[in-house]
Symmetry: C2
Subunit: 114 residues, 2 copies
C-alpha cells in the first residue's frame, strides 16, 4: 500500500477500531440501532465519558451515525454506517481467530514472563 501515512491497510483499520472498546461497540451496533444507555449496558464496564469519546471518534471516522429524533424527550440513536458495517464484517474472521487462539496467546505470554 502506497500511502504517506500508512504502510498497510491493516494499520488503517487498527487506527480506526483498535481500542479496547471499539470492537465491542461495533458488534453491538451491528445488531441494530442503539441508544446511549442501552449501548453502555451492552458494552459492559465502560464509563459514560469513555463511551461518549469512543462514539465521537467512530462518528468522526465515518463508522457510526448519531441521529437525534425530535420530540419530548429527545431521542438520540447510534447506528453503523455502510462503511462501519463493512468494517464489522471484515473483522468477523479476526474475531474468530482471536476466540480460537486466546488460550494459547495468554498461556504463551504467561510462560514467557514466568
Amino acid at each position: 500500500m502506497d500511502h504517506p501515512d500508512y504502510d498497510c491497510g491493516v494499520n488503517v483499520a487498527f487506527d480506526v477500531v483498535g481500542t479496547k472498546w471499539k470492537p465491542t461497540i461495533l458488534w453491538c451496533l451491528s445488531q441494530g440501532a442503539r441508544r446511549f444507555a442501552a449501548l453502555r449496558r451492552e458494552v459492559g464496564a465502560i464509563s459514560e465519558k469513555v463511551l461518549a469519546q469512543q462514539l465521537r471518534e467512530l462518528e468522526r471516522d465515518g463508522i457510526v451515525t448519531r441521529t437525534v429524533h425530535e420530540g419530548f424527550p429527545l431521542r438520540v440513536e447510534y447506528t453503523l454506517t455502510e462503511r462501519g458495517t463493512r468494517l464489522d464484517a471484515a473483522l468477523t474472521a479476526v474475531a474468530e481467530w482471536g476466540e480460537q487462539n486466546v488460550d494459547h496467546v495468554v498461556a504463551a505470554r504467561a510462560s514467557a514472563h514466568a
Copy 2:
C-alpha cells in the same frame, strides 16, 4: 466472548498483531520463509532492534517460527506457523477495508482537527 482478559476476539488479535510493523511482517512472511536481512529490506524503514523485538514477540505468541540451519555460516530463517498463516488470512479483508477507506479516514481526521 467470556474470558477474564478479553471481551472480544478482535482484541486478542490486536494484542498479537496490532503494532505499526507486525501486519507488514506477517504479509512478508506469508510470501515465504525469510532471513532477517531480507525481511528487514522488505518491511522498509524499520530498525534492526525493533524488527528483532517484533519477531521475538511474534515467536512468543506462536505466530512465527525461527529456524537455525546448521552449517557455515549459520542460517536463521523466519516462517509463519499454521496459527500465523490463519491470522494473516483473517486479516486480508481488514487490509482491503483499510485500503478502500484510508483516504476517507485521513480526510475525516484532517477536517476534524481543522
